[in-house]
Amino acid sequence: MIEGKKDSTNKRDILLITILLLVVGGLFLYFQLFQSTGEANYAHVYYGSSNDPIVTIDFVKNEIVQYSQQDVPNQYGSFPIIDEGKRTITLLGDYEINGVRQIVVIQYDFGLKTVQIIEEESPNNICSREGASTGKPLICLPNRVRVEFETNDDSDFTV
């Protein structure tokens, strides 16, 4: 009796895992196919949980638009630092080493339409290991800096 019950829960477990694998696998493939289309027209750089970008990289007009200053304590100076020569945007991250907040350096390329985090400090360096991105959001979580892409052509009419 107990053996029989065990067998049936075992079967149900395997069935459950198979179904979940199929559903999640399908979702994964769908996302892969769905998101590989088109290249981005804009990349927005955000800090913290704000939904207003601090800087936008415009791949259509090949220019950098700064909307606001990053809100940081006075002793760090003023951010973002935009270097058009080196094609970098530097923000101050949230991650601290010995109580000092560290910088996050974002590099952009108008020709390839890519953005890359080239310098940041965090335990696992997930966002800088991500490499150059053409559409995948770059999230530096301990630093609370993120780059999101936008492909919508009409967006400059709505802003």
């Binding site: 149900r12 959001p137 979580l141 301990p142």
Partner: protein, 179 residues
């Protein structure tokens, strides 16, 4: 009478010591996992420390398991210096979602430990991503959800198999000691 009391005390003490050991193992597993960064997703983990949550759920109770899991998350936050940081909230939310889902599913007795473990693993991802949306104030993190879910299933199977083996060994060992 005296013997009865001391036996009862003995059981309580043994349980307490075992739970303390489990907590220590869970903390070490969690620290190792955050150090080697198996997950490609910022701030998210596959939750191998959930194996202890799962085991306690089966060998003791939902209450003990919840207490142990919350303690583990808070202590790991303290030890790694990430307490109340963005990744802490993601861990907390993931662990809470996993334990609640596993507790409810175990109650139904419809699935075995393997099924419960996989569902817990999936809810661990939902919990983390859900908190991640609040932490970074953007739904961009959802981009990684399919990949995380896909990875979480094998992770759940592994923790489930370990848990299953552990519980069967535990049953023989524990019965021998308690009686």
């Amino acid at each position: 009478m005296m013997i009865l009391i001391s036996q009862c005390d003995m059981k309580q003490t043994r349980k307490m010591i075992l739970l303390a050991n489990f907590l220590a193992i869970a903390i070490v597993l969690n620290l190792i996992e955050s150090a080697i960064a198996l997950s490609p997703v910022p701030g998210a983990k596959l939750g191998f420390a959930n194996v202890i949550t799962l085991i306690i759920l089966y060998v003791y109770s939902f209450k003990d398991s919840t207490a142990l899991t919350l303690l583990r998350v808070i202590l790991v936050g303290l030890l790694s210096g990430r307490l109340l940081g963005p990744t802490f909230y993601m861990s907390l939310s993931g662990a809470a979602a996993a334990i609640i889902a596993m507790g409810i599913l175990k109650k139904t007795n419809f699935f075995g430990i393997l099924g419960v473990s996989v569902v817990g693993s999936i809810f661990h991802v939902f919990g983390q991503i859900g908190a991640g949306i609040f932490v970074i104030g953007s739904t961009a993190i959802i981009y990684w959800m399919p990949l995380m879910l896909l990875l979480s299933i094998p992770a759940g199977v592994i923790t489930g198999l370990i848990g299953k083996r552990f519980v069967s060994v535990w049953d023989t060992w524990h019965n021998k000691i308690e009686n």
